[in-house]
Symmetry: C2
Subunit: 659 residues, 2 copies
């Protein structure tokens, strides 16, 4: 007899190995963190003995479920707002709340809340992407779960990084910290191609390759994303990221709702894995991913819940079932994605998707002991047909519920026994999470009528590059911009435009509200006639400034939206405390200076009437380091234009205006 | 103080009344079977006292859920087979198993199994359609649930009726028996337009109008159904049934996946209600019903699970959630079908869909006390945001699970307290339902290799009208069919055809296997040339015959399928014990006799060679009474043709053949 730590006996053992072996009266022997034997109970008990023997009669034993895509700290935001337009939901609620509340503590608490729900529901392994991923790792490791945890990289400032350079530095540190942990696999997670620059995508790839860790990202989640990619890069999303070298890494791409056959071929060639999120894709109205074709083409596809903000749970039983049913509905073929295949995607193939195929995902000797047991006796899973060997998969995928999970083991350690959590204090988590809810409720109530939320509500809002570089001078006489600038060897003219601009600024007593500008841009042609008119709103958040020599570096968030309604509407809608009018004639040169795009504005101010001319050198960027570099270049341009320090002004036009 | 039977206090009361009132610390007073008061706990306890007081703190109180379309006895077939093609699933498994097993006892047991699951999951009221509906009613009444129960009417024989006349008679008796029950509303359920004749649809409508009971049916579930309706009736399904007067009844139409805007207008005009079945429509790959447009047009739409064979559960929480998410996914609009509206469809609007809007579906004084409580404290429903008044609906629809239901009351009676069922013996149901599973497993195992199941597996099978009328004579000389028949005032020629028919009959030692005929039909044109060739298989089940005068009335089931593979394939596939060959030359006149379609066949038998001519008068029908009438007409035609009794033969051609 061999002595082992634990024996699970007398259950229906559904191994999910390559042969799909099922032992109707089966047993599993576990030593340390690993499975050492799986087979009929009679054979196993004849070979092994243990002090911890769990009688699993009336239970089904399956591999712990693998959630291939989620954002677990967001569990704290479950049910915050639902059923809204995507831009309203994201920019009106998610982003402001995340900006205000997401902290290491938030991520730790949210991760524990999620872990409790996931363990109860039989999930033992996840792929996560969020901020402060080191605190997610801390919570997950404490809870005893397995995870591939991706630290988010974004081009704009995020709750855990003021710039993307900080984000990349944090990610490196995170990988160093967790790379040797038995349960945690650190990963790099550039959020999505559209929310990154080519530079950040390349840097993320380099980091993933350097440490040989997975790279998690969102690919082609919405139709708009694909349209934007075609507009900006002349190609859909997958060839774009392929061109940047991103697919050289071990990539797990979430969503992939709008990928075409050519893109699937590219993904297959690079062994890019996919996380399918059926609930989230329906709830956010993103579409239905072509999972059947992906599977037919041999892609590795796991199943994920996505975050609870777009689900609203972490229930992998719900998710498997919907994956199977949606595949049938989408193809018109009721044989598509049968129950056994859906369970494989949530277990063995899911583990493979996370690049953990050698570690977990099936019940076979040599794999880590990640095992769950399901109560097979609830009436919602009766009767039990046995003639068809696939009947057990139908019972697990189509009829079992996450609440049928009774015992959960990860890495040979019990995390739940008889439905009691062994690693998490549920009462403490309940209290901590409801305390966050009270604070968030109060924050959102306080900002009712807040300008950004009002702006978001009318739609079309986009966030601009987060750093603005601006240098400005007041000149008594008209400078000869073309003469001074355009012949210089470092300068290249891109375009010259001429506008008459009619601005109305809405300001508010509370300076934290920021301000809104309604601008009508009349483009003037060569004959001095108005050729086209465009109106838009710009929302500027309260400003933080930093000054470099004679250029000003402004670090501030701006949002722009088309203004498709008359000024009077916006006046009534925003009810500003004061209004200011600015009218000016603007000549604008779009130039490349040392290859970098700058705008040179030459303005004559009509309202308020100011003598002379205002000269502006402007640029924007997502990167803090890039902003510093551009500030230097802006100073150089000012010098080329012959601006002396005493001509430099820091006044904005609106500050000159009367209310 | 007013004395009442029961007080529920201190819970979050979500009334689902017209104002969508929510009492965050609310109470309900119940006297006899009705709600007498709903409001803040402080107000209710100041006015009412009771001996049964349930403290509902930490619980949410909502109206009992209404499942608008199901077939509860089929719960005994949950997981029998899944992931198959529709024809294979239906004709290979569901129909044979139903034919063999569906009995009053089956329906009673299956209904109790379903009731246990439904009560546990918070469903208190259903619309059901099945066979032996009186036994469904008996089970449901014992369990204490409310239901609109529709007795099925079909044109073909069903487990509870040898003919549709029997079915209509049974339905009348069922209505008489249950019409005064406080919980049960009997209803007429013509299964679907395509599975009924115009006569049975009209008779069902008359019955519904005579007793003022609802009429339940399936409408436009599949695209094929609509195509067939256009082919056969030159219009889609809804105008077809409108033309038959069916929409004059109180109609609850299940599915309505493929209805267009005009059809929605017709349904709205007739106040036709809809049962939406999102899971079933995905699982069977039927499509996605245009629920948003229906709701915008003011149609009353409930939500149903359908039977467990196409779901595989009776979980209304799953169903509400999917209804909401699928509506968003299908329209590309994440604001479509918000949580509050989904809950309304499963409660107040669902009750209205069942024509029980005055009785149940909301928590308000005067309605019957159909109330469920949900545990609001599981971690899968944390945290609890409260700022947004719609947050509670999101928590109920998007995060709560059916297993959160703790207490269930119907008609003022407790059916479940603290998750213990009070009206159903679960252990007994478990045993009884698994016993059925063992018998059904054995039945299906025994018929492995069964001819019908093999035929079903190769696809394209259709069931023919169930009654065949045939009169046959052997004549020494060639009769002048046109001369004898076509000038008669009661006869009208529809078409004349001429075939050479090459038949191979497959027969089996076990007579219960029935027989298969492979026929090649060579259509011959005026010049005696073969104009077209068609091959098909006909499966004839073991025959029961009844004889009328000189015509034979055959009551037997036939199935036909196109034979798109060569004879050799079918020989190897079916492996018959004996084969017989029949070849003949057939002249066929399609005539109307007294307005009824008959085929007159004049056959010369080449193999086996028989002298003289065989004359056949044939017709088919779904109706037993119609079969008797047609048998009389067939005798009259035989008389017109001058056939004497001694010329009549009862031999089939295959019986003449050598093996």
């Amino acid at each position: 007899m061999n002595r082992v730590d634990t024996l699970l006996t007398g259950g229906i053992v559904v191994t999910m190995n390559q042969n799909y072996d099922v032992f109707p009266d089966g047993a599993i022997a576990i030593q340390d963190s690993r499975i050492v034997a799986v087979g009929p109970t009679s054979e196993i008990v004849a070979q092994y003995e243990a002090s911890d023997i769990l009688d699993c009669s009336g239970q089904v034993l399956i591999p712990g479920l693998v959630n291939a895509h989620t954002h677990i700290p967001m569990t704290l935001l479950r049910g915050l707002v639902d059923d809204l337009r995507l831009d309203v939901w994201l920019m009106g609620y998610m982003m402001p709340v995340e900006r205000e509340f997401v902290s290491p503590e938030f991520c730790y608490t949210g991760s524990l809340l999620a872990a409790a729900e996931m363990i109860r529901g039989g999930t033992t392994c996840i792929a996560d992407m969020y901020y402060f991923e080191s605190d997610v790792a801390r919570a997950l490791a404490e809870a005893g779960m397995r995870g591939v945890l991706g630290q988010t990289v974004l081009k704009f400032p995020s709750p855990d990084a003021a710039s993307y350079e900080d984000s990349l530095a944090y990610t490196r540190q995170f990988i160093e910290e967790w790379r040797d942990h038995p349960l945690i696999t650190p990963a790099v997670a550039p959020h999505a191609p559209y929310s990154n620059t080519p530079d950040t995508l390349k840097a993320s790839t380099d980091l993933a390759l350097e440490y040989d860790v997975p790279l998690l990202t969102h690919i082609a989640e919405t139709r708009l994303e694909v349209e934007d990619s075609r507009r900006d890069h002349d190609m859909p999303v997958v060839p774009y990221v392929e061109g940047l070298g991103l697919l050289e890494a071990k990539v797990l791409a979430a969503h992939c709702v709008h990928v075409d056959t050519d893109e699937m071929r590219i993904m297959h060639r690079h062994n890019t894995h996919v996380a399918h999120n059926p609930t989230s894709n329906l709830k956010l109205a993103s579409g239905i991913a072509p999972i059947n074709e992906m599977l037919e083409r041999g892609l590795v596809v796991g199943i994920g819940t996505d975050g609870t903000a777009s689900n609203n749970d972490l229930d992998m039983f719900d998710e498997m079932r919907l994956a199977a049913f949606l595949a049938k509905g989408a193809t018109g073929d009721p044989t598509a994605l049968p129950a056994r295949q859906a369970l494989a995607m949530a277990t063995r193939m899911g583990a493979e998707a996370l690049f953990l195929g050698e570690v977990t995902g099936s019940l076979e000797p040599g794999k880590q002991a990640d095992i769950i047991t399901l109560d097979h006796m609830p009436l919602h899973n009766f009767p039990h047909f046995k003639r068809d060997p696939d009947a057990i998969y139908s019972q697990i995928v189509y009829a079992a519920k996450s609440t049928d999970v009774t015992n959960v083991m990860v890495d040979g350690r019990w995390l739940m026994r008889d439905r009691a959590l062994l690693t998490i204090d549920e009462a403490a988590i309940r209290a901590a999470s409801d305390q966050y809810a009270r604070q968030i409720d109060a924050f959102l109530t306080a900002r009712e009528g807040n300008i950004l939320s009002k702006l978001v509500a009318i739609g079309g809002l986009e966030q601009e590059e987060s750093f603005e570089i601006q240098a400005k001078a007041h000149l008594a006489t008209r400078p000869d911009i073309p003469g001074l600038l355009l012949d210089h060897r470092d300068v290249q003219l891109v375009r010259h435009t001429h506008y008459r601009q009619y601005d109305t600024y809405f300001q508010f007593q509370d300076p934290n509200q920021g301000r809104v500008r309604y601008r009508e841009d009349d483009a003037v042609d060569d004959r001095g006639e108005v050729a086209s008119v465009r109106s838009r709103l710009t929302y500027t958040m309260p400003t933080k400034e930093r000054e470099f020599s004679n250029a000003v570096l402004l670090s501030r968030s701006q949002f722009i939206a088309p203004a498709d309604r008359p000024l009077r509407f916006y006046q009534e809608y925003f009810q500003p405390d004061t209004e200011h009018t600015v009218q000016k004639e603007r000549q604008r040169w779009h130039i490349l200076y040392k290859g970098i795009l700058f705008y040179i504005n030459l303005d004559e101010l009509h309202v308020p009437r100011e003598a002379g001319y205002f000269l502006e050198v402007k640029s924007r960027t997502w990167s803090a380091r890039d902003a510093e570099y551009k500030a230097e270049l802006a100073s150089e341009i000012m010098a080329l234009l012959g601006i002396s320090p005493e001509q430099v002004v820091h006044t904005e036009y609106v500050e000159l205006a009367d209310s």
